[in-house]
Structures are given as structure tokens and as C-alpha cells.
């Protein structure tokens, strides 16, 4: 990835967040992606979300695999440690990082090639472990860096820029994640900033593996007529299933909502998610009805967005392991080493 240092400009009008940081404190290097790339909108939304949540950048780790999407962690939060790993293997590095230091706030940025082809296995196992992270799939249905091959997320019948028609059924990260037992699955669109920022915030605060599939059109290779991942197609078939409000723990729920039309999900830190139903009967906490709904909409070619499934009760990795509250990297050597006396005692049984 190319890197251009971004000038930091002080704007007197800019607002400080709760910890006294400006939005520019959450920015990174200048993007070198194509002008109009959906990924850049997602980057901007990530900056917005972390700024709004007032998270200190140094508490965050940002990881990625390989591909256009995986370049983006360089474009936000330069005060956070970053890890641009190998193709499809971001989840394993995130697992290790979380194993070594459970206090870190982990955001992984992947793409449809990175997560649904080469890294399909690791994607599945991050979900299975309910690794405490926000896992974003910037989904454009195409391999951009190698110039336009279909990815596994490309819909059957979708047309490539050079005219080929995709013959293969697509892998849908949303229904895949739900069927694998994911605790948080959402879909958004790089063009819907408001929804995206809310879902990012919900995903960051969710105590488990939050899968966020974001349709993010590739302006160079997959934004033409006949593509089902273009701006036009996505806007025409855009179908929010629920509207989510994120309410930080300190705040009270002020939005008015009618009984039976909303679901409140409380997260471990006391913050709440308010899910307003837009389609009658949609319940993001009921896995089987969600799957049925998604299948119906898929058949109609709709791009269903919103927080589609949530179960904030599923234990994350460390809870299952019963790991020490203290991060592994902060344990004193004296706590880890049994010492000479224990060694002598142990060896008495080896004779």
C-alpha cells in the first residue's frame, strides 16, 4: 500500500469528544485507493464512530489481511498499532492478539476475497470462538488489486466489467455467520453513513465477534450496469430490515418508540442497542425467523441491511477459557514461573 502522510489541520470549529480528542486525532494516512472507492467512506465512518465513542486510539488494534480493503487500517487512527497480515489470516492474528492482551479493542478489516475465499476457514473460526472484535468485510464482489476477477461474494448472474457472467452461487457472509452461530451480524452500505456509524459503534461495543458486512462498490472494476454490487444496484435494492440506535451507557433512552415495535439489547458495559422494527415481525434476536426472512429477501434480490442478528449473551473466548482478568502480557514472571522447589517436587514423581 502506498502511504502519504496526511497534513493535520486545526479547525477552530472542530469539536472535542469526551476525552478531549478531535476527529482528526482518529485519522490516519492519506488513502491511495481509487477516487470514489466505497472503502474510503467506511474509513471515514470508522473515524467518526471511534471519535463518538471517545475511545483512546492507543487502546485499539487494527488488523487486516491482503487486498484493497486490507490497506485501509493505514488510513485511520495512526495512534493505534496496526497489523497488515497475510492474505486471509487476519482472524488468527487477532485471536493471538486478544489471547495476549484481552484489554485491547480490536477491529479487523477484511474483504470478500480475504474472508470468503482464502480466509473462509479463519473467518468461520473467529465467529466460532466469538472473539471479542469488530470484524468488517468490505464487500465489493470483486478482486480489485488483481484487476477485476469475480470473488466468492459475487452474485450468480452478475456481469463483470469485461462482460463475463458469473456462473457460481455466492457466499453470503451474513447468512453464513448467522448459521455458524455468530453473536452479532449486521450489513450496511458504504453509501449510508448514518446507519454505518451506528452499526460500527454497536459492533465495537458488542462483547463478542461482531460481523459487519458492508457493501462497498468498487468504482473501477464493479460499478457498471449488470453488476449487483454497484452504487446504483445497491441503492435500488437497499432494504433496511431494522433501524438501530446506539445509546451509550451514561445516557438514557430518549427516542420515543412504540411498545412492541422495538427491541432493547443491553451490552455488558451498560450501553444499549435500540432496534426499531421497520418490517413488521422482524426480530433480530430470533435466529430462525431471521434466516427465513433473509432467504425471502435474497430470492427477491434485495440488499437487506441493519443489525440483522444479535445475541449479546453468548460468552466470548476468554469467558469460555476462564482466562485471568489481567492481560497475559501484563502478568509478572513471578506469577508464571513455578520455581525451583516446584521443579524438584515434580521430578520426585519421575523416578
Amino acid at each position: 500500500m502506498s502511504f502519504i502522510r496526511k497534513p493535520k489541520i486545526d479547525l477552530p470549529s472542530e469539536r472535542q469528544n469526551e476525552i478531549g480528542l478531535l476527529k482528526r486525532d482518529y485519522e490516519g494516512g492519506l488513502s491511495t485507493l481509487c477516487a470514489g472507492c466505497g472503502h474510503d467512506s467506511i474509513t471515514a465512518a470508522i473515524v467518526q464512530a471511534f471519535w463518538e465513542l471517545s475511545i483512546p486510539p492507543e487502546k485499539v488494534i487494527k488488523l487486516s489481511g491482503i487486498g484493497c480493503s486490507s490497506k485501509t487500517p493505514a488510513y485511520f487512527m495512526s495512534g493505534a498499532h496496526g497489523f497488515n497480515s497475510v492474505h486471509g489470516r487476519m482472524p488468527s492474528v487477532a485471536t493471538g492478539a486478544q489471547a495476549g492482551n484481552r484489554d485491547l479493542i480490536c477491529i479487523g478489516v477484511s474483504g470478500d476475497g480475504d474472508s470468503l475465499s482464502i480466509g473462509f476457514g479463519q473467518f468461520g473460526h473467529a465467529v466460532r470462538r466469538n472473539l471479542n472484535m469488530l470484524y468488517i468485510i468490505e464487500n465489493n464482489g470483486v478482486y480489485g488489486l488483481t484487476k477485476g476477477q469475480f470473488s466468492a461474494a459475487a452474485d450468480k448472474g452478475s456481469r463483470a466489467k469485461r462482460g463475463d457472467i458469473n456462473q457460481w452461487k455466492n457466499i453470503d457472509p451474513v447468512s453464513t455467520a448467522i448459521s455458524m452461530g455468530s453473536s452479532f451480524v449486521a450489513r450496511s452500505f458504504s453509501g449510508d453513513r448514518e446507519q454505518l456509524v451506528t452499526l460500527l459503534k454497536a459492533g465495537i461495543m458488542h462483547p463478542g465477534c461482531a460481523i459487519l458486512d458492508v457493501v462497498s462498490p468498487c468504482v473501477t472494476f464493479n460499478n457498471h450496469l449488470g453488476s449487483t454490487k454497484s452504487y446504483t444496484y445497491t441503492r435500488d435494492h437497499y432494504h433496511p430490515a431494522s433501524q438501530t440506535d446506539f445509546v451509550p451507557h451514561a445516557n438514557e433512552i430518549r427516542a420515543s418508540y412504540e411498545e412492541g415495535e422495538s427491541i432493547i439489547v443491553e451490552l455488558h458495559d451498560g450501553s444499549k442497542l435500540l432496534l426499531k422494527k421497520t418490517d413488521s415481525g422482524y426480530d433480530a434476536t430470533n435466529r430462525s425467523s431471521v434466516m427465513r426472512y433473509l432467504e425471502q429477501q435474497r430470492a427477491r434480490g434485495e440488499v437487506v441491511t441493519g443489525l440483522l442478528y444479535i445475541n449479546a449473551e453468548l460468552p466470548e473466548m476468554h469467558k469460555i477459557y476462564r482466562t485471568s482478568e489481567t492481560a497475559m502480557k501484563d502478568l509478572e514472571y513471578e506469577q508464571l514461573n513455578p520455581g525451583s522447589e516446584a521443579l524438584a517436587k515434580l521430578q520426585a514423581g519421575m523416578r
Binding site: 488494534i61 497489523f83 493471538g96 515434580l346
Partner: protein, 603 residues
């Protein structure tokens, strides 16, 4: 055959796997150990769980030789399937013990051996009612038979049984009963003891019996490793089992039940490697135990860790390759692969333990080296070391030891800097300081496998790229000064001949040196313990006219590595190779050397 031979014999037990013979064999081994006799126990087992032939060999050697011997003096044939083959392996004058409950085929006789039939199954069926107990006690009964035949101290056996089943008194009773059944039958029926026998000798109280995987797992606990990631693979699995067991003993808070360790069973070896990198990156000590096929899968991440300079420890318990190979057989066949694992210009330090004692020691060293050098470190053990029972000097620990975490700048250190640059070598040893995520925004940097410069920024500049990879060569020179030095055993008489070996080939060479000395051939012996080679290795090669390189692979991998890295004349390095999957015996060394020197080998 009436010559009395004391504390110098090989006992082999042929059974069917899954019949519970392991505890009987361990009882035998420990009894000999407690009598003060140097012993080793080696398993030969199929890649299978139940129903196939398996053997356990015990070598008692008053001279302390630990390698596999080709002789078999006493064979306990508990598996009718393998009678014929087992009998062929028995040396002339040897003894065959078999279960005479059932008739034995006539053609299986040999004139030069003594056959001793014991109705083991019949005895156990008459004395025990439970079906499973009958099978298990049949094994314990042959221990009783051998105790009589070999004059093994029955008091020692009794104590061992009492200790083993301290919490299950019923089992003590049945085990002792089975021992007595076998013992009494043998005493009444045969002339006991045999000319080949055991006798209480030295003091083994400063020694222990352990396998290399357990020792390495224990070493990881003592090194302060907190994250272990792995994918199950023979013959390395025992290492994670051991780490887990020791962690359960030493690393669980008794009050809260919380664990001071994380073990992740990964979805595959690629993920295991990624987990190790992620954990080390954030500052925990993490490792993975695996075997050759696992290293193949991890290679992409290994190159990544080399180039991005992330500490990581890889234990490779080698097995027979190529491909799936023979998972339950031993070789030293991953030397070349590990030395240069991954695409591009990569090279990695390797530690080469020769026994479980060094597995423990080198496990600790590996983490220190890895943190110090910020690079992947390989510990290359093998199935023979990892899964067999070795007698080693007891392990010791210096409580004043503190790990060397290398150049890590903590939050307060970063604060003092004007600016932090991840890959800037400020003191010329080729190693730059790192920071840990979660501590200070000033220390934030970006890990990337793509081009990066000394400031930690992305680059496609030719000169910046070259600067970085050239610095890694400086680090390589530093590594040469830090890795364990070779062990050199100089000949009593001046010689121009040298032998080089490493790892589990050590025992065979040590025994061969004595055998060759009796033939008047003397060698200086160097056991290489690490890669990159330090100056001592080069000097040894240069100061000898002919150097035999003994190893357990087909392609003479260590010899190749020596030629590549020391610029020596390839013609002076003579390969002595053993690669059939069984541990190398001393005879192989004697024959290989003698063949080259055109001296007739003595059997």
C-alpha cells in the same frame, strides 16, 4: 549360552496397541531405573489407535549407552500376529517368552534360542473375573515373569505399584497378585535368573525418566510462555498435552479459578502460526508445537515474522517425511526447511536439543533468543526424543533467572523519545526496539509484510528496502554470538578425523566412538547445537582432514547446510546417514565410518 551378562541387555515386548501394555512397560522401566541401572525405553508403534502391532524396547546399559541397539536379548511375544517376525529379530542365544495358553506353531522354532512358555492368559482368567482386568493383568503378569527371569527387585516393583495406585487400593491388590502369578510360575518352571540379568548398581537418584515433549512443555511454563496455539499432529501433540497439564498445576489461581495461560486449539497450522504472531506482537510469550507438515503450512507466516521482526517460537518434533510420510517414525529431516523456511531471502535460528534435558533448557533459551532477536526461533526435536522415555540428569532451576524480553520500549520509555521509529537500529546489532500495542499512541506503528523502511513506513524505494534487508543480515551476525555453542569431545589421541552430529544422533555417536576406539580409530566429535553456525563450528570443520556428518535423513541436510554456510570443501564432509524411520543405532555410525576408511567393521 551360559556367560553371565549383568545390566547389559535389550528387552523387547511385542503387543497389540490398545491393550494397556504401557503401564506394564513403564513399571519394568522404572524398576530397572530404581535399581540404579541406566535405562532407556523406546516405543515402536503404528499410526493407529487399536488392534495393530506395537513394540516397546528397553535397553539396560551399565555403560550408560542411550541409543537404540540392534540386539534383542529377550523378547516377550504377546502378539501372535508378529511371533514369526519377532523371533527373527531375537539375537542368537536369546530368550523368547510367549503366552503358552494357546498352542504355538511348530515352524516358528529356532535352534539357537530358548523358548519359555508361560500360560499368561490362563492364569489371569483363573484369577481375575472382570474381562478388561484380565487383559490388563496379563501384561502385569509378564512383568512378574521377567522379574524372576532377570532378577528384578520385587520390593522395587511392589513400591512402584503402591505409589502408582496410591488412590486405588483395589488396583494395588490385583497388580501385586498378577506380579506374583508370573513371578511364581517362572521361579517354579525355569532356571532363574537367566544368564542375562539385572543387578542393583549405582545411584539414579540424581536422574529422572522423562520424554522430550514433556520436558519441552515444562520448559515453556518455566520460560513464562502464556499463549500456546497448536493444531494436533503426531509426534508433537504430547508437548501441548504436557504444557496444558503443567499449566493446570501451576497456573490456575486457586481462589478465582482463573487461568494464567491461554491455549488455543487452532483450526489449522496456519492459524496456529498467526495466533503465535499476534500474541507475541502484543507482548505475551507464545509458541506452537508442531511437526514437519505443520511447518510447511506455517511457512508464509514464518517469513512474515522474519521480515516484520516478530518474536515467535516454533517447536518442530520431526517425523518421517516427505508429505504425510510415516507419522509414528523418527527422522531429522526438516533441517533445511526450517533453516530457510518461507519465500524470499529468509533464514532462521534453530536450536537442536539432543535429549529431554536440552528440550527443557532450550525451550527457555528459545523464548529469550526470540525476544532478543525479534525473529522466529525453531527448536528441532524429533519423535525419538519427544515420545520416548529417556533417563536424564534431574532438571534444575535458578530462581534468580529473569527472562530477557529484548528491546521493548514501555510507555514511559516511549514518552522520553522525540519520535519512535520501529525499524531503526540505533546501536549496530541489527535489532531495533519495539513497542507494545495498548500502551502509548506515540509508540504506535504499523506491521506490514510489504515494503517498509527503517521508520516503519510503507516504501517501494529500492534503497530503503535494501537497507532493511541488509540490516537483517547484521542481526544474523548477532544471532551467531547468542546461540548455544557446540559440544566438542576431543579424542584422547591426536587425530585428523572428525565426526559431526546433532540432536538424537548423539547417543549413537557416543557409543560408536568407544567402539571405534577399541579398533584403534580415534575421532574428535562435535555436536552442533544451533544454527546459525558460530565460529567454533567453522573452526572444527577446518581443522580436520575428514569430517563425518552423521544424521537421520536421506539427503544429508546438515552436511549441505555446513557446505553452504561455512564455505568448506564439500569433499571433506562425508555423510553417514540413517533414515529408515527407526532411531539411529551405533552400528550405523561404525559401519559408515569404517566403510569410508576401508576398515572392516566389527559387528
Amino acid at each position: 549360552m551360559s556367560e553371565i551378562r549383568v545390566n547389559d541387555f535389550v528387552l523387547k515386548i511385542g503387543t497389540v496397541n490398545g491393550t494397556g501394555s504401557a503401564s506394564a512397560n513403564s513399571l519394568l522401566l522404572k524398576a530397572l531405573f530404581r535399581m540404579g541401572i541406566p535405562v532407556t525405553g523406546k516405543n515402536l508403534f503404528p499410526s493407529n489407535i487399536q488392534g495393530l502391532p506395537t513394540w516397546y524396547g528397553i535397553r539396560a546399559s551399565k555403560d550408560g549407552y542411550m541409543s537404540r541397539s540392534l540386539r534383542v536379548d529377550i523378547l516377550v511375544a504377546m502378539n501372535a500376529q508378529t511371533y514369526q517376525k519377532d523371533m527373527q529379530n531375537l539375537c542368537s542365544g536369546g530368550f523368547l517368552v510367549y503366552d503358552s495358553t494357546w498352542p504355538r506353531e511348530r515352524q516358528l522354532n529356532r535352534d539357537d534360542i530358548t523358548v519359555l512358555g508361560v500360560p499368561l492368559a490362563k492364569m489371569c482368567n483363573e484369577n481375575f473375573s472382570d474381562a478388561r482386568i484380565r487383559i490388563l493383568m496379563k501384561n502385569i503378569a509378564y512383568v512378574g515373569v521377567l522379574a524372576a527371569l532377570l532378577s528384578i527387585d520385587t520390593k522395587v516393583l511392589r513400591t512402584l505399584i503402591e505409589e502408582t495406585f496410591a488412590s486405588k487400593p483395589k488396583l494395588i491388590e490385583s497388580n501385586l497378585k498378577a506380579i506374583n502369578l508370573g513371578y511364581n510360575y517362572a521361579m517354579e518352571t525355569f532356571t532363574c535368573p537367566l544368564p542375562i540379568r539385572a543387578e542393583t548398581m549405582g545411584d539414579n537418584s540424581k536422574h529422572i525418566m522423562i520424554d522430550g515433549n514433556s520436558a519441552a512443555g515444562l520448559g515453556c511454563v518455566y520460560a513464562g510462555a502464556t499463549v500456546g496455539a497448536w493444531y494436533p499432529i503426531t509426534p508433537s501433540t504430547g508437548m501441548m498435552d504436557a504444557f496444558k497439564a503443567y499449566c493446570k498445576t501451576y497456573r490456575i489461581d486457586p481462589e478465582t479459578g482463573q487461568k494464567n495461560y491461554v491455549i488455543v486449539q487452532a483450526e489449522d497450522e496456519l492459524a496456529a502460526a498467526g495466533i503465535v504472531l499476534g500474541a507475541n506482537w502484543v507482548g505475551a510469550r507464545a509458541f506452537t508445537p508442531t511437526s514437519g507438515p505443520g511447518i510447511s503450512l506455517m511457512s508464509e507466516f514464518i517469513g512474515f515474522a522474519y521480515y516484520t521482526e516478530i518474536p515467535s517460537v516454533f517447536f518442530n518434533v520431526q517425523r518421517v517425511g516427505p508429505s504425510t510420510g510415516m507419522p509414528t517414525r523418527t527422522q531429522q529431516c526438516d533441517i533445511m526447511m526450517c533453516a530457510y523456511a518461507s519465500h524470499g531471502d529468509t533464514q532462521h535460528p534453530m536450536l537442536l536439543p539432543a535429549n529431554p534435558y536440552e528440550c527443557f533448557e532450550m525451550a527457555v533459551q528459545a523464548f529469550d533468543l526470540s525476544d532478543h532477536l525479534q525473529t522466529p526461533i525453531f527448536v528441532l526435536s524429533d519423535l525419538d526424543i519427544g515420545m520416548n522415555d529417556w533417563m536424564i540428569p534431574e532438571l534444575s532451576w535458578d530462581d534468580s533467572f529473569r527472562p530477557n524480553r529484548g528491546k521493548v520500549l514501555r510507555s514511559e520509555d516511549v514518552e522520553k523519545l522525540e519520535k519512535f521509529y520501529r525499524y531503526l537500529d540505533t546501536d549496530g546489532d541489527g535489532i531495533a526496539a519495539r513497542t507494545l500495542p495498548g500502551e502509548n499512541p506515540k509508540g504506535a506503528y504499523f506491521v506490514r509484510g510489504s515494503g517498509h523502511n527503517k521508520h516503519g513506513m510503507y516504501t517501494e524505494s529500492s534503497s530503503e528496502y535494501k537497507d532493511l534487508v541488509d540490516r537483517l543480515l547484521v542481526k544474523w551476525e548477532t544471532a551467531k554470538t547468542l546461540v548455544p555453542k557446540p559440544v566438542i569431545k576431543s579424542s584422547a589421541k591426536e587425530t585428523r578425523l572428525g565426526i559431526i552430529a546433532y540432536g538424537s544422533s548423539d547417543g549413537a555417536v557416543l557409543e560408536a566412538l568407544d567402539m571405534l576406539a577399541t579398533k584403534g580409530i580415534h575421532f574428535d566429535y562435535m555436536r552442533v547445537r544451533a544454527f546459525p553456525f558460530c565460529d567454533e563450528v567453522t573452526e572444527f570443520v577446518e581443522s580436520h582432514e575428514t569430517v563425518f556428518v552423521v544424521e537421520q535423513n536421506r539427503d544429508a541436510q546438515m552436511r549441505s547446510l555446513l557446505i553452504l554456510e561455512t564455505n568448506t570443501d564439500a569433499r571433506k564432509l562425508v555423510p553417514v546417514l540413517h533414515y529408515n524411520g527407526m532411531p539411529i543405532p551405533s552400528q550405523c555410525v561404525v559401519e559408515g565410518v569404517c566403510e569410508h576408511l576401508q576398515v572392516e567393521a566389527v559387528a
